[in-house]
């Protein structure tokens, strides 16, 4: 019978809790970057800007078709290899080991977030009543103020539940960064597990803390969307 080490489990819970900020950093920075850049790219798609629109569609398809772990590995080996090749060609005395892996991980997660949020925001923009868009355009509104004053204020509240899901996806996706050596919530508990040869306690603790985080985000997005919908009067 397996002897569950309860005191180690509690210490792993503490480790997991202290690494929540790292996991939040890995998820929230891409979320914000993805919302801004993804929103812009979505507008380009909705406005059918030639060439740019097709290139964005290709980028979204490419990123969404690849597993996150593979995107992390390709980016890690591509970046470190390319960086070292470049610096040795230029005879610089720096190498890729001096670049924090956390930054590589955040950049990769940003790219993933941009791809997913471009799709999310495109659907949200398209759900805004076309009559209003025509009215705004016939009033002589520019495309910029059309988005700022008509489309985004209506699309964003509608998209809150989906945005909550994207953030949850990013939190869960960020657990994969241990594969390139970033010490996040999962990796911190994993390191202790390897030292103590106790894996069940470690992964159970990590799972519970992730569950808690995702539960909070889900509740927050429910509350936010209820409040926003009430204030808009839907």
């Amino acid at each position: 019978m397996y002897q569950f080490d309860f005191s180690f489990f509690v210490s792993e819970l503490q480790v997991a809790f202290t690494y929540i900020p790292v996991t939040l950093l890995l998820a929230c920075v891409p979320m914000v970057v993805g919302l801004v850049i993804g929103g812009l790219l979505a507008a380009v798609r909705v406005q059918h800007v030639p060439i740019a629109s097709q290139l964005i569609a290709l980028f979204v398809l490419l990123v969404r078709s690849l597993p996150i772990i593979l995107l992390l590995l390709v980016s890690y080996y591509g970046f470190t290899g390319g960086f070292d090749a470049l610096t040795s060609m230029l005879d610089l005395s720096i190498n890729s080991a001096q670049v924090p892996i956390l930054i590589i991980a955040i950049v990769v997660l940003c790219i993933i977030a941009i791809a997913f949020l471009t799709e999310t925001m495109r659907a949200a923009f398209q759900s805004v009543d076309t009559g209003q868009i025509e009215a705004a355009r016939s009033e002589g509104m520019t495309v910029g103020s059309l988005y700022r004053r008509v489309i985004v204020p209506q699309a964003l509240p509608m998209a809150i539940p989906i945005l909550g899901n994207v953030l949850i996806g990013l939190i869960q996706g960020s657990a994969l960064v241990y594969i390139i050596g970033v010490v996040d919530l999962l990796n911190a508990t994993k390191i202790q597990a390897n030292i103590n040869y106790r894996y069940i306690e470690a992964y159970l603790a990590a799972a519970l803390v992730y569950w808690f985080l995702c539960f909070l985000i889900e509740k927050a997005s429910d509350l936010l969307s209820q409040r926003v919908n009430r204030s808009i009067g839907w």
Partner: protein, 235 residues
């Protein structure tokens, strides 16, 4: 300055490693198909529990679905891989079966079957609820038995409604199972690790694997789009 540092990527090596990686495609497909088949069976049971609101089991299914949706799949894989043998060994060791020697693929399949069953169950319940209630009343008023109603009215329509989400689930499953190599399964990414350990070239292998995943995802997307169009007439 050594030449090895500038030689970090070559298309020749992508081509050279590609056949070895492609030869592990059946390992990936095996995991996906078994997870999907077992996940579908379990999802039907869970969906029935939720639709008929079976006491206790209904609450348990809520916790199960919340857990599988609220935790990263990599953590689920680790939990099953390390936890299941410890949990079940009192049952299996009297039979002379050492669960620590069971192939890692089995644990990966169990993990993804469980995870898939949760999302597929949610999909089934959603599709069931999406069938027009007027039709249910009409079928009952002309004297259909509940089992006939279920078989002839609800299931055929619910299946069609579920096609797009089933497609999304299958693609997510294909992408998700790529973490199998982290517990030692020699799938496409697993073989890249061993090629890399031998040659010190990882990037080309991962690029090759990315090409295969890309083609598979596009292919699956196309198949489900065709299915959706084919069955649209039944909506």
């Amino acid at each position: 300055m050594d030449s090895s540092s500038t030689d970090f990527f070559s298309l020749d090596r992508v081509v050279a490693y590609f056949p070895q990686i492609l030869s592990k495609l059946p390992v990936t497909l095996n995991i996906v198909l078994w997870s999907l088949a077992l996940g579908l069976l379990l999802a039907l049971v869970i969906a029935a529990i939720r639709i008929f609101k079976v006491p206790v089991l209904n609450q348990l299914s809520s916790v199960f679905i919340s857990f599988t949706r609220g935790t990263p799949q990599i953590v689920q894989v680790f939990l099953v891989f390390y936890g299941l043998p410890a949990l079940l060994s009192p049952l299996f060791s009297p039979l002379g079966v050492n669960l620590n020697h069971v192939d890692a693929t089995v644990f990966v399949i169990i993990t993804f079957a469980l995870a898939a069953s949760a999302s597929l169950a949610v999909m089934f319940v959603g599709a069931y609820q999406a069938v027009d209630k007027g039709q249910v009343e009409a079928a009952l008023s002309i004297g259909m038995m509940p089992s006939q109603l279920f078989r002839r009215v609800i299931v055929p329509q619910a299946l069609v409604i579920a096609i797009p989400e089933f497609g999304n689930n299958t693609v997510a499953l294909l992408k998700g199972t790529s973490v199998a190599f982290t517990v030692g399964v020699i799938d496409m990414l697993g073989i890249v690790s061993s090629i890399g350990a031998r040659t010190y070239h990882f990037l080309e292998g991962y690029v090759g694997a990315a090409i295969i995943y890309l083609v598979l995802c596009l292919l699956l997307g196309r198949i489900f789009a065709l299915l959706e169009r084919r069955f649209a007439i039944y909506r």
